[in-house]
Amino acid sequence: MADRGRNADDQQLFADWVREHGKAVRGFLLAMVRRPDMADDLTQEVFRRAWQARTRYREQGNARAYLLRIADRLACDRGRRPETTVNLDADGWRQHEPADPAAEPSRAVLMAEETERLTAALDRLSPVQRRVLLLRFYGQLSFAEIAAEIDCPLNTTLSHCRRGLETLRKLFVEKVP
């Protein structure tokens, strides 16, 4: 009886996590791996692992930080693994993706421009700067928490953040090409 009640609580907790943090986790992973299909797979994997280790979470507190930590480790693991998949080029995707009848051409152009700017920004950041800024943006983690996650001293983490922000400033504020 108690088990059934706890299971229902767990399911409710899991549903809340997905509803509240699913988009943030997916956004973080998309910015890390830059592939929507892989980001979707990893998002599911994050929630699967979070579900398996939910008893550990109860001792920690902040759900989004907990989920983003799992996401960060998964993305880093995926980055270290040799590529075993074959990427389609743009023409290949166009052939396989169904056309969206609701999409307006102007909106599509705007999206493409924004995606291009984001890609350029992420390319300019070093991997560790990217991790620091994305963990800060999506999880609102404190710098001490980020330092613990990326396994760096606090002052190094702050330096990474500052250099990353300066790179973004050159790109977005000073418009340096």
Binding site: Q11, D40, T43, L118
Partner: protein, 182 residues
């Protein structure tokens, strides 16, 4: 933490605060960093899919490992019981068996004679060296006396130490299995 580091941390915390956080009172350097941060955030939000993710349709199934969690303790208890049974049986058999004496000296001599003999006669046909026969009951008596001397020296059942240690370890394993520490 040094004062400079604290200052930099405060500045970066304000520059990278959530977009609805108050921005008043920022120094020009922090304000420009914040502007870059907000632009970056806008792009990240724009890259999110417009429609909701199909996350609501995910089904929650307990992982297989949880379904079969009872297997490990049961297997451990069975293995421990089996081990206890085997070890006890072996020890009881060892304790009840009389120690087998080595071959009699006369027989050894006669065997070596037999090997050296070019005619390869049957062993039963070889006579004793001095004509006296080896008494088997004497062998048994010697073995029993040796065993009793060994028991007296140990002052307990032979192998009891090893058995007690093994039983103690098995009890430890059982306790850990029951405590679910494995």
């Amino acid at each position: 933490m040094s004062e400079d580091l604290k200052k930099m941390q405060r500045s970066l915390e304000r520059a990278t605060a959530a977009k609805d956080a108050p921005q008043a009172g920022l120094d020009p350097q922090t304000a420009s960093l914040r502007e870059a941060w907000l632009s970056f955030g806008q792009l990240l939000e724009a890259a999110q899919p417009a429609t909701e993710l199909p996350l609501e349709h995910w089904t929650i199934t307990p992982p297989p490992a949880q379904k079969r969690r009872w297997i490990l303790p049961v297997a451990a208890v069975l293995a421990a019981s089996l081990l206890i049974g085997v070890v006890t049986t072996w020890m009881l058999r060892t304790a009840n068996q009389p120690q087998s004496p080595g071959p009699a000296p006369e027989q050894t001599v006669s065997t070596s004679n037999h090997i050296a003999s070019p005619t390869r006669e049957q062993p039963t046909a070889v006579p004793a060296v001095n004509g006296s026969q080896w008494d088997d009951s004497l062998d048994e008596q010697l073995a029993q006396a040796g065993q009793q001397v060994a028991y007296a020296q140990q002052d307990q059942f032979p192998g009891a130490d090893a058995f007690g240690l093994m039983q103690y370890r098995i009890e430890q394993v059982c306790a850990e299995v029951q405590a679910d520490n494995l």
